[in-house]
């Protein structure tokens, strides 16, 4: 079975938790952020996995975005939910796939925080052509994280109303 080159297990530089890069756990071939705190590390420069960046600072999850899928017959709003990471030193930004074992509660917290600072994050993301999800996308985020058949909780509803 083909498997992309893995850069191995690591200890998260932000929360210091051991992170396994096992494909069976994460569901992705290249583990690029911690599944617990969702922080990443600025290692890539031109393309994902090139490991050419000399910055190596932490990358904070600042919001969520949607990456359009290749299926042109799907609805425009659909695609894949992605995390937006911003480097805390050089302000470089990247989007990364959410892995299967990423903590959904932390993803929600990141989304909530991004809504509180939406205009600022939007301005930052604009330079990189990334469109962060706004409060109206709450349904999409919920569906992507928990599936179609799970009811949106009251907390989420209140967030949606606010």
């Amino acid at each position: 079975m083909y498997r992309a080159a893995s850069f191995g297990d690591f200890k998260c530089a932000h929360c210091h938790t051991f992170v396994s890069s096992t494909h069976q756990l994460s569901g992705v071939n290249n583990r690029n952020h911690c599944p617990y705190c969702l922080w990443s590390c600025h290692l890539d420069l031109y393309a994902a996995g090139d490991r050419l960046s000399a910055c190596k600072a932490g990358m904070k999850p600042i919001g969520l975005t949607m990456k359009k899928g290749r299926n042109k017959y799907r609805l425009e709003s659909r695609g894949e939910l992605m995390l937006i990471h911003a480097c805390i030193e050089c302000r470089a930004m990247s989007i990364n796939r959410i892995a299967a074992d990423d903590d959904a509660e932390t993803v929600i917290v990141v989304f909530q925080e991004s809504l509180a600072l939406f205009h600022r994050i939007h301005a930052l993301c604009d330079q990189y052509g990334i469109i962060p999800l706004n409060a109206e996308s709450i349904g999409i985020v919920h569906r992507q994280l928990f599936g179609q058949n799970v009811e949106i909780s009251s907390t989420w509803r209140s967030l949606h109303k606010s």
Binding site: L45, R51, L52, S53, A54, C55, K56, C90
Partner: protein, 328 residues
Amino acid sequence: MNIDNEDDIGIVFRKTLGHYTVQANGREIDCVLSSLLHKQLIYPTADPTSLHHAVQEVREINHVDPVAIGDQVRYVDAGNGSGMITEILPRRSKLSRPAPVPGQRVFEQVIVSNADLVIPVFAAAEPTPKWGLLDRYLVSAESSDLPSLIVINKLDLASKNPGLDEELEIYRRIGYPILSVSAVTGEGIEELKHALQGKLSVMVGKSGVGKTSLLNAIQPGLGLRVKAVGQGELGKGRHTTTHLEMFKLDFGGTLVDTPGVREFGLWNVTGEELAYLFPEMADYVGQCKFGLSCRHDREPDCAIRKAVMAGEISPHRYKSYLHLREEL
């Protein structure tokens, strides 16, 4: 048979197991090591100042063959085309790598000694250049204080590798001389001849880049065996040259042709000195927050990392540095 006679000094041009072809005065002499020299070299004296004669312990011996191609040797001519090497004269330089022998112990393999120029040969395409391997060759040459000349062969296939010029520009900016040639069309061969003149040069490169084809183009009379690269998707070279050999060039100078290698480790290079062997990084060593203790990886206020981010050092070369640093 006078061993002090200058006429009895020759250069090792070729070697096979236990036999060394020494060239002197236009003659080729098939030599073996004298028993005394063999003893001295294979089992050297542990402490020359000690009154008690004790040889070095086997576990301290770290070379696979004490005689290398390019060595100047004093020999005794037996008169029938054979002889005996009695002394190896001090080496001016040597290009070494860890011998690819299985097991835990690492031995030194001197590829060539007394060289004046290292020529890493890469193909413009088929096989595609591995820049990490080029960095290894360059670091190895720097550690031996030898100048390098980067040769890009198969210029006629350059259109298949659009990013080639961009990559070569990195090395040009550092100050490495680069020569683009084609053994097929003959382009650049005259410039290469000029660069080789009067020097003992060694060509290194992975299998299939055209080292022997270049040698044939430089000196057509040699008629050395060459093969086309594999036709598969990978386009890897097929091992054709199987031994090291030195060739005297008609226009002056000597050239060592080496078999293609896919692995090239660094010998006698420590992690601390590695950054010095990247000429563009050498100026920044010692300027980091942690001074000479900095590994230039994740340390804060690292001058080399800052230089990479400022665009003064290529990120590709920095990545090569980190790869090599991990090995040491």
